[in-house]
């Protein structure tokens, strides 16, 4: 589904990614673990199409297509979904307006009929129920005044509505207490399936106890240093990133 080959990228003149190779098949869950500044967030932003990053070498192919050539909205329509580390607050735009606009934009691009207000509301309420959320958050302005957990759940709700094929979870655990983490992880797990792939980006092993990956990769200094199974995450939890030459204050 996703093939990243020798990806190099910079922000301004500063190289961040220095040759990433990664291949993800449908149905797989991959985790990328790495210390602060290793390039984890840069990778997720490049995959989602954020401006301000320059790919200097390498390629990213998604379902046989050059992903890097597409603007962010086309990537979303093609099934790429980034769950944000810090979901953005948008005052003055109600969550339901935002979700309906996004869903219809994606449906339009996919050649599907747009939903009217009633159809949308019905679908949104169903998804909320499935994810164990109240539909009260549909009425509020996008993420404004939401707790950390509510913001992440709102992102998962967007994911459930937009029905992506490749989901990138960027530090989804940051700012969540253990209960919120469990709820978000349950939401993510309910969306796992043989036709979907996930890339879970995290600093800590904690999240991976709830969203159990098939493959774990260690990212440091802009390169994947080591790959393995889910046991690699536990090893990192016990020993830290020191063996990769990273010196993190505890």
């Amino acid at each position: 589904m996703l093939t990243i080959t020798n990806l190099h990228a910079s922000v301004g003149d500063r190289p961040i990614l220095k040759g990433i190779d990664l291949s993800i098949k449908a149905g797989e869950v991959h985790a990328i673990m790495g210390p602060n500044g290793s390039g984890k967030s840069t990778l997720s932003y490049i995959l989602a199409g954020r401006e301000g990053y320059t790919v200097t070498e390498g390629s990213v192919t998604y379902k046989g297509e050059d992903l890097l050539a597409l603007p962010p909205e086309r990537r979303a329509a093609a099934g790429v979904f980034l769950a944000f580390q810090y979901p953005v607050e948008i005052p003055g735009v109600s969550n339901s307006t935002f979700l309906k606009t996004a869903l219809n934009a994606v449906r339009r691009q996919r050649g599907e009929a747009e939903l009217d207000a009633m159809q949308f509301l019905k679908l949104a309420r169903t998804k909320c129920k499935q994810l164990g959320m109240t539909d009260e958050m549909l009425k509020r302005a996008v993420n404004v005044g939401f707790s950390g957990g509510e913001k992440k759940r709102n992102d998962i709700l967007q994911m459930a509505l937009l029905d992506p094929r490749l989901t990138i979870l960027d530090e989804t655990d940051s700012g969540l207490d253990i209960d919120a983490l469990r709820i978000v992880a349950d939401g993510v797990n309910s969306l796992r399936g043989p036709e979907r792939a996930m890339l879970v980006i995290t600093h800590y092993q904690r999240l991976l106890s709830y969203i159990v990956p098939d493959h774990v990769h260690v990212l440091a200094f802009g390169k994947i240093q080591r790959s393995g199974g889910k046991e690699l995450a536990l090893e990192l939890e016990a020993r830290g990133y020191a063996e990769f030459g990273v010196n993190e204050a505890a």
Binding site: G49, R50, E73, A102, A105, L162
Partner: protein, 410 residues
């Protein structure tokens, strides 16, 4: 009427002395009237063209007064006699039917501003609108003024005068809707409004201006608020090549309250000027101002807001905020907030910000499938609606949101 002729001659003499304001005058330094001054305007004759009245869709007015090129059109208006002493009509008609009332109030408020365009309006004083609400009467449905510009082959000008008098504890909602019919030669609408609010009177006054790209639109409003009177004003500016809304309110009685807000959406080479002067002349008065601008292309926004707190105006609460969204590198905002405080026990705040669209929010929306234009429209709409939310009348709020939304999509 001799008093009217006297007023007009005084206006002519005053305009001969002052002329049009120049950019070297502090109050006009950002707004250059050169192009206006160089255009030779003919006074518009009462237009007889048949026009369709494009009223605000969700507003049902109790009375509607329609003017074409400044001339009252009884055939398009709906104003019925009222038994409760309320007077709604064209200035010319009310001058004939209630001369003493008009004489008592006309020219009383508008002297203080004293600039050229105001004097020019007085020199041409002939028609306009009157809203008079007697003591204790509350008009629940709005009164709508529809001011239509129908440009011809030659530049035309008109100088409407609006007179609003709300007696003690009276209440009313007044909507002004200014727009052009098609294109044509330049037009110059030079309106003056005089507003008197008696003790405890409440006026809601909403104005939408969407004249065409050949229009010059100047408007000078002077208001006086007595004890506990309340003025809620909103200015929506979408049109005209050059426009200026100048609002001067004197909070003359204790406890008077002014809520003045607006949104200006400018593109192309438009200039939109909002100038406000709130004069806190009495204790315990409050003023709240929020103005938001969206400026694209080479357009220019101007916001000058002065708050004056006189020595006896203790316990004043005055807030003012000007925000502008600049959508292009050539877009420009000149903001000049000004506080002049002569009392010591007051709460005053002001702020002016300018910026562009939040990049994080843009990316968030695009990452959810909404294209760049759609994301921009959503964010700008939300930004503007935050100002429009200040309008307390729900149908007017919805109508103004629809006008702003239409601008964003065109």
């Amino acid at each position: 009427m001799t008093w009217l002729n006297t007023l007009r001659s005084a206006g002519r003499a005053r305009f001969a002395e002052l002329g049009f304001p120049k950019v070297r005058q502090e109050d006009w330094r950002f707004t250059n009237l050169g192009a206006l001054e160089r255009t030779l305007f003919l006074p518009a004759s009462p237009a007889s063209a048949l026009v369709a009245v494009d009223a605000l869709p969700s507003v049902t007015p109790s009375h509607r007064l329609v003017f074409v090129n400044g001339g009252f059109r009884a055939d398009l208006s709906a104003a019925s006699e009222r038994p409760d002493g309320v007077i709604i009509g064209s200035l010319a008609a009310v001058m004939a039917s209630h001369p003493a009332l008009v004489e008592a109030h006309l020219g009383q408020r508008a002297d203080d501003a004293g600039h050229g365009p105001l004097a020019l309006n007085t020199a041409h004083l002939a028609d306009g609108a009157v809203l008079y609400v007697p003591k204790g009467v509350y008009l629940d449905k709005p009164v709508e003024l529809v001011m239509i510009g129908a440009g011809g082959h030659e530049p035309l000008s008109w100088h409407p005068r609006l007179l609003v008098v709300l007696e003690e504890r009276a209440g009313a909602t007044l909507i002004e809707h200014h727009f052009s019919l098609g294109d044509g030669a330049a037009t110059f609408s030079n309106g003056v409004s005089e507003i008197t609010l008696g003790t405890g009177a409440r006026l809601r006054h909403y104005k939408a201006q969407r004249e065409n790209a050949a229009a010059f639109h100047l408007s000078t409003l002077s208001g006086r608020l007595e004890h506990d009177a309340c003025y809620e004003g909103f200015l929506l500016t979408l049109g005209a090549r050059l426009s200026r809304n100048e609002v001067r309110l004197v909070l003359a009685g204790p406890g008077a309250e002014a809520k003045l807000s607006g949104a200006y959406l400018l593109r192309g080479e438009q200039l939109g000027d909002t100038t406000t002067v709130i004069d806190h002349a009495s204790p315990r008065c409050t003023s709240q101002q929020l103005f938001k601008g969206v400026i694209d292309d080479k357009a220019q926004g101007v916001f000058q807001g002065k708050v004056l707190v006189r020595p006896n105006a203790q316990k004043t609460d005055a807030r003012q905020l000007s925000r502008a969204l600049l959508l292009s590198d050539d877009a420009r905002i000149d903001a000049k907030p000004e506080l002049e405080i002569h009392a010591d026990d007051v709460k005053c705040s002001h702020g002016a910000t300018a910026g562009d669209l939040d990049e994080d929010a843009m990316f968030y929306l695009r990452a959810r499938g909404i294209d760049r234009d759609g994301a921009r429209a959503l964010l700008i709409g939300a930004y503007v609606n935050e100002a429009i939310a200040e309008i307390s009348s729900e149908p007017v709020r919805e109508a103004f949101e629809a006008l702003a939304d239409h601008w964003l999509r065109s």
